[in-house]
Amino acid sequence: MRYMLLIYNNPALYESWPEEERQALFADVEAIMAELRQTGELVDTAALADPSVTRTVRVREGAVTATDGPFAEAKEQFAGYLTVDCDTPERAEEIAARWPDARYFAMEVRPVMYSSGDEM
């Protein structure tokens, strides 16, 4: 079963931390990534750049508008994801629980849809 683990956080919190605490957080991430590579469960991962370098695109009545931001000080924002392939949903939740952002913000565990199916 394939799950996408959506990472939510607020960079402002981590920015306020002393350097060594930030390093400890990165080390936690490194440790779990190393484990997932070793077990072969990691499929894909990406971290997203700061929301301030985001462009938001909308099409209204055929007209395209693109704006900078959002800059709004959201409490939590989408920061990245990892896709894992694991035996059970419980294992996916366990991985999410060990991701450091889960301690301060939240992780979402979403099953990935697949392009095959049973005859029903």
């Binding site: 072969g40 849809m113 392009s115």
Partner: protein, 423 residues
């Protein structure tokens, strides 16, 4: 990792694929180191691909491969650092009759046993399911890591990592090739893994699914190999029959756009008549001769479907009776769900809905999309189109399969059209 499939004539390729697990088994029985034995076998296969086209296939190809692989293994140990010295000595001290190529007529049985023992080892219940599947396809099926990775839609390094970890876990679990568990207790683990491989391939329909069809072929090939070794085992015959009867429907089960076509709407003239004939003959024989089991019952159900030339000819009474027996062997909510479908077909939708209520009470399936889909179907049969539509949409939201979602949304729309004239 070498591959012996490129540029090899088909007959030689088949021969090598059949021999590879036997050679690996023979080496493991003597030396017991999975990684190193596998590397040595790969090199021997490569040597065969290079040498056989010119020199001809040797009189006893299996012995040839064992001899070459053993030599590579010993070479490899010699080349390794000094800390391995002890092991080299041990290998060299092995009595020559154990490493020498066996006589051409000596041990066909041992060769078969080696394949079976290797399968049992790869399907060790201490391994996670994905690892058991990968290891079986790699070591017994002879698929390359790249092929397995493609079939499971992961990158090659990811799959290589899974396989290498599976080998470590085997070692940690203390699995020893020299003392494999008895065939009786391990057989169901092996059949389960083959069943999973088949399903993985069968549920694929389109796009990358083209690669995954190989998985059904591979599962059938491996199950056939076990059937040859254990022809009197009813469950082995049952699983082979189940695979053949299910796979026979493949040409009819999805539309050109990758959409799912349910059993009742399939064009049955597209079914593979040869596979059906073989499946029915296998299951008929084992039902009368062997000890009954769940794979045989599922195969018998598939056979009843296969015998109906159109959906309305289906002998649902017989299917219902078979599900009642199956539920005694495997009392899972899924089997009960299927029994509810058969009940609705025999005794009407209300009887089916009553039985569904007991499945709904089970927390394991309360949010299972097929439950909502089956309920929708029965409500539609009963003429309650509004509730049917609601349940089709619920099922569509819960499935994680895109073609299933499209199919369920279509059914919801159809139920909606059906009730528009009156409502």
């Amino acid at each position: 990792m070498t591959t012996f499939r490129v540029g090899t004539p088909a007959a030689a390729e088949d021969l090598l694929r059949e021999l590879a697990p036997q050679v690996l088994g023979a080496l493991l029985r003597r030396y017991g180191r999975f990684d190193e034995c596998e590397d040595a076998v790969q090199e021997a296969l490569l040597a065969a691909v290079v040498q056989w086209p010119d020199a001809g296939v040797p009189a006893n190809p299996r012995s040839w491969l064992i001899t070459v692989a053993t030599r590579r293994l010993v070479d490899q140990w010699r080349a390794d650092s000094a800390r391995r010295n002890r092991e080299v000595t041990a290998a060299l001290m092995t009595p020559s009759h154990r490493t020498a190529a066996p006589a051409a007529d000596s041990d066909e049985v041992a060769a078969d046993d080696d394949t079976l023992t290797l399968l049992i080892l790869c399907c060790h219940p201490d391994l996670p399911e994905v690892s058991r599947i990968a290891l079986t396809l790699r070591a017994v099926g002879g698929l390359t890591t790249a092929e397995i990775a493609r079939a499971f839609l992961v990158s090659e390094p990811t799959m290589a990592q899974r396989i290498s970890r599976a080998k470590q876990q085997l070692r940690a679990a203390g699995a020893r090739f020299e003392e494999p568990p008895p065939v009786d207790s391990a057989r169901s683990d092996v059949l389960h893994v083959l069943y999973l491989i088949f399903n993985e391939g069968y549920t694929a329909t389109s796009g990358p699914g083209l690669h995954r069809v190989e998985l059904t072929a591979e599962a059938i090939r491996l199950t056939r190999a076990i059937y040859r070794l254990l022809p009197d085992d009813g469950e082995v015959a049952g699983l082979l029959a189940l695979m053949l009867l299910t796979d026979a429907r493949r040409p009819a089960r999805c539309g050109p756009d990758g959409s799912v076509i349910p059993l009742e709407e399939q064009d049955r003239t597209l079914w593979d008549a040869n596979a059906i004939r073989e499946g029915i003959s296998l299951i008929s024989r084992s039902l009368t001769a062997a000890k009954l089991g769940p794979y045989q019952l599922q195969a018998a159900i598939a056979a009843v479907h296969a015998e109906a030339s159109q959906a309305s000819d289906t002998d649902w009474r017989q299917i219902l009776a078979l599900y009642l027996v199956l539920e005694r062997y495997t009392p899972t909510p899924i089997v009960r769900l299927n029994r509810a479908v058969a009940t609705a077909m025999v005794h009407g939708p209300q009887a089916g809905l009553d039985l569904l209520a007991s499945v709904e009470a089970d927390s394991r399936t309360a949010t299972y999309h097929r439950l909502a889909a089956v309920r929708a179907h029965m409500l539609e049969m009963a003429g309650d189109l509004e509730a049917a539509q609601r349940n089709y949409l619920l099922a569509a939201r819960r499935t994680i399969s895109l073609p299933e979602r499209r199919y369920l949304e279509l059914r919801a729309a159809r139920a909606g059209v059906g009730r528009r004239p009156t409502g």
